[in-house]
C-alpha cells in the first residue's frame, strides 16, 4: 500500500513537470494561432481590417459587413437586434465622419443619443437584467478596430467635449421604426 502511494506521488510529480524536462514552461502557442483558432470557432469575430475608414459594406445598410455578421450571431431577439443595428450604424458613422463637417457632427450626435436611448429602452437579458447601453461598448470597440478608424473615432469624441446627453429627451419608443 505504502509503495503504491509513493508510486502515485512520483507519477504526479512527473505529470506536473514541463514535458521537455528543462524546468521551463512549455512555449505558449503564438497569438496568431490562438487568434486563428478563436476566429475559426466563432469565439472571436473575424473583423474587416481593410485600409479605409468605412471598410466593406456590400449590402449598403450602413453597417460594416463584419459587424453585421457579428450581430446576427449573437442570438438576439428581433427587437433587440434592431436596436443593436441602430447603434452599429451610428458607430459606423462615428468612425467615418469628417470632423470638420459641423452639420454632420450635429446630426450624428443627435442620432447617437437616439440610438443609445433606444438601447436603454429595449430590454435585454432575463427581465431586462442586461443594460442595453452596456452592449454599445462591445460594438464600439469592434467598429473602431484599426488605428485609422480608432483615431478618427477619438477625434469625433473630442468634438463632443462639454456636450450634454440625455436618454429622456426622446418620448416614447426612440427606436427607428
Amino acid at each position: 500500500m505504502k509503495k503504491t502511494l509513493i508510486l502515485i506521488a512520483v507519477m504526479n510529480l512527473f505529470a506536473c513537470s514541463p514535458n521537455d524536462g528543462s524546468g521551463v514552461r512549455p512555449a505558449e502557442e503564438t497569438m496568431e494561432k490562438i487568434f486563428g483558432k478563436m476566429e475559426d470557432s466563432g469565439k472571436y469575430p473575424v473583423l474587416d481590417r481593410t485600409d479605409t475608414l468605412a471598410g466593406i459594406d456590400e449590402n449598403k445598410n450602413g453597417i460594416r459587413d463584419d459587424i453585421d455578421l457579428y450581430i446576427s450571431k449573437q442570438g438576439f431577439a428581433p427587437e433587440q437586434e434592431k436596436a443593436i443595428r441602430q447603434e452599429a450604424a451610428v458607430m459606423q458613422r462615428s468612425v467615418t465622419i469628417d470632423v470638420k463637417d459641423k452639420k454632420a457632427l450635429a446630426k450624428l450626435q443627435t442620432d447617437s443619443g437616439i440610438s443609445m436611448a433606444c438601447l436603454s429602452y429595449t430590454k435585454f437579458g432575463e427581465n431586462g437584467s442586461v443594460r442595453g447601453s452596456s452592449l454599445a461598448l462591445d460594438i464600439e470597440s469592434l467598429t473602431a478596430n484599426t488605428k485609422k478608424r480608432l483615431k478618427n473615432y477619438l477625434a469625433y469624441n473630442h468634438t463632443l467635449d462639454g456636450s450634454v446627453w440625455s436618454s429622456t429627451n426622446y418620448k416614447g419608443n426612440p427606436c427607428v421604426k
Partner: protein, 417 residues
C-alpha cells in the same frame, strides 16, 4: 337686557376676534405658501452624471444609465437624466493609441492592427477576457497596459486640477439652466475628474436652485466637496494623486477586490468598483443618495405644494366636510418635526381653488349657508392624525360659531416627488 347686551357684545367681539385671527392666520399662511412655493414647487428630479477619467461618451452614457437603473430600483422617481460629458485630455489622445499600438507590435507583431483590443483591453471586455483565458502572455500584456493607464490617469488628473476649462463649463451651465427653468431638483453625481466639473456646476447652479441641489462625489479627484463623498481605500488613482496635493480621506475599506468580482486593477472604476453590488461602496452610494433625497424632502415635506405632498382625507359623510387646506412648513422649523402648521382655506370651491391653488381636492361646496366657512386643523402629536374641523358662523345665528363637522384623519405625506 343690559346683561344680554353685554353678552352679545362679548360674543361679537369673540367672533370678530376669532375671524380676525382666522383671517390673519390665513394671510400669513398664504404668504408662507408663496415663499414655500418658490422653495418647493418642483417638477421632478434631474439626474446629472459627470463622467470620470478616460471615458468615451458611450461609456459615460452607460454609467448614467447604471446610476439611473439603480435609483429606479430603489423607488427614486427620476424625471430627467443627462450626462455632462468631459473628455479626458491625455498628452494627446493619439499618444495613448500609439503607445498601445507600439506595445501590441512589440509583444505580438502580427496583431499590431487589431486595434479593437484598445478598448477591449482597457475595459477588460468580452474579447479581451477570452484572450486572457487562452493566453497567459496576453493576460500579462493586458494587465501591464491597464497598470500603465492607471499611471496615465493619475498624471492626467494631477494636471487637470486648477486648470479652467471654460467652454465646457459654459455648455454644462446651459443645461443646468434648462433644468432649473423646468423647476427640477438637481441631483448631480460625479466620478473621478467629473468632480472638478461638478464643483463648477454646483457653484453656478446653487444660487439659482437654492436648496434643491445635491451633489454626490464618487472617487473625487478634488479636495473641494459640495456634498457627501465615497472613496475606496483601494482606489490607486486617487491614492496616487496624494503626491500632487490633498485629496479626501477614504471612506470605505474594500481591500484588494477579488478577481471574482472585479478585474479593475486601478480600484477606480465607477461601475467595476463603486457601483459594483459586491463592493461596500455600493451600499454607501445608495445610502448617500437616500440621504440627499431626505434632505430634499425635509426642506419641502408638508408644504402641501408639491404634487404628491398632499394630505389625503378619507371620504367624509358629513354634510359639511372639511375641504380646502394646505400644509405649510416654516423655514425655521424642520418639516419633519412635531410642528407642522395647518393653514386655512376658505370654504368655497372657488375661493379655495383661487386662493390655495395647492389644495388638491375640493369635494363639496357648502357656501350656500354662509361665506364664513372655513377649515382649520392641527396636527395631533399624540395620535399622529390631523384633527380637522369645518366651521363657521351659525347660518341661523350669525353670532354663533359652530363646528359643522370635525374629523381626525391619519395622513401620510408622500415625500417622493
Amino acid at each position: 337686557m343690559a346683561r344680554y347686551g353685554r353678552q352679545l357684545t362679548i360674543r361679537v367681539i369673540l367672533v370678530l376676534n376669532r375671524l380676525t385671527l382666522v383671517a390673519f392666520t390665513f394671510f400669513i399662511s398664504i404668504n408662507t405658501a408663496v415663499a414655500a412655493e418658490a422653495e418647493c414647487n418642483f417638477k421632478g428630479i434631474h439626474l446629472g452624471f459627470f463622467n470620470g477619467v478616460g471615458n468615451t461618451p458611450k461609456q459615460a452614457f452607460d454609467s448614467l444609465e447604471a446610476t439611473y437603473s439603480d435609483m429606479s430600483l430603489r423607488g427614486v422617481d427620476i424625471s430627467d437624466k443627462q450626462f455632462y460629458y468631459n473628455e479626458t485630455k491625455y498628452h494627446g489622445t493619439e499618444d495613448i493609441v500609439e503607445v498601445f499600438n507600439q506595445r501590441l507590435n512589440e509583444e505580438f507583431p502580427p496583431l499590431s492592427d487589431r486595434m479593437e483590443l484598445f478598448f477591449q483591453t482597457l475595459r477588460n471586455g468580452k474579447q479581451s477576457q477570452s484572450l486572457s483565458a487562452a493566453s497567459r502572455k496576453y493576460l500579462e500584456f493586458a494587465t501591464s497596459f491597464r497598470k500603465y493607464m492607471t499611471k496615465v490617469h493619475v498624471n492626467t488628473l494631477s494636471r487637470l486640477i486648477g486648470i479652467p476649462t471654460e467652454n465646457i463649463y459654459k455648455n454644462h451651465q446651459k443645461q443646468l439652466d434648462v433644468a432649473i427653468k423646468n423647476k427640477q431638483k438637481l441631483l448631480l453625481v460625479a466620478h473621478s475628474q467629473g468632480n472638478l466639473f461638478v464643483n463648477k456646476a454646483y457653484a453656478y447652479a446653487k444660487p439659482k436652485a437654492g436648496s434643491a441641489i445635491g451633489v454626490l462625489h464618487v472617487a473625487p479627484a478634488s479636495v473641494k466637496l459640495n456634498g457627501p463623498y465615497i472613496l475606496a481605500d483601494y482606489d490607486l488613482v486617487i491614492d496616487a494623486l496624494r503626491a500632487f496635493g490633498p485629496v479626501p480621506a477614504y471612506t470605505d475599506t474594500i481591500g484588494t477586490p477579488p478577481r471574482s468580482w472585479s478585474s479593475d486593477l486601478s480600484g477606480h472604476g465607477y461601475l467595476d468598483i463603486y457601483l459594483n453590488p459586491k463592493s461596500s461602496t455600493y451600499e454607501h452610494f445608495n445610502k448617500e443618495v437616500t440621504s440627499i433625497f431626505n434632505d430634499f424632502d425635509a426642506k419641502c415635506a408638508g408644504s402641501g405644494i408639491q404634487g404628491k405632498n398632499v394630505l389625503n382625507i378619507a371620504p367624509l359623510k358629513s354634510k359639511y366636510p372639511p375641504l380646502g387646506f394646505s400644509l405649510n412648513c416654516s423655514t425655521d422649523i424642520p418639516c419633519k418635526s412635531t410642528t407642522i402648521k395647518m393653514a386655512l382655506g376658505f370654504y368655497t370651491k372657488e375661493l379655495a381653488s383661487a386662493l390655495l391653488p395647492h389644495v388638491q381636492k375640493v369635494e363639496a361646496d357648502c357656501a350656500e349657508k354662509s361665506h364664513w366657512r372655513m377649515v382649520s386643523g392641527e396636527w395631533n402629536k399624540a395620535t399622529g392624525n390631523f384633527d380637522i374641523s369645518c366651521g363657521g358662523t351659525d347660518p341661523d345665528n350669525a353670532l354663533q360659531w359652530i363646528n359643522f363637522s370635525s374629523i381626525s384623519v391619519p395622513f401620510t405625506i408622500d415625500n417622493r416627488m
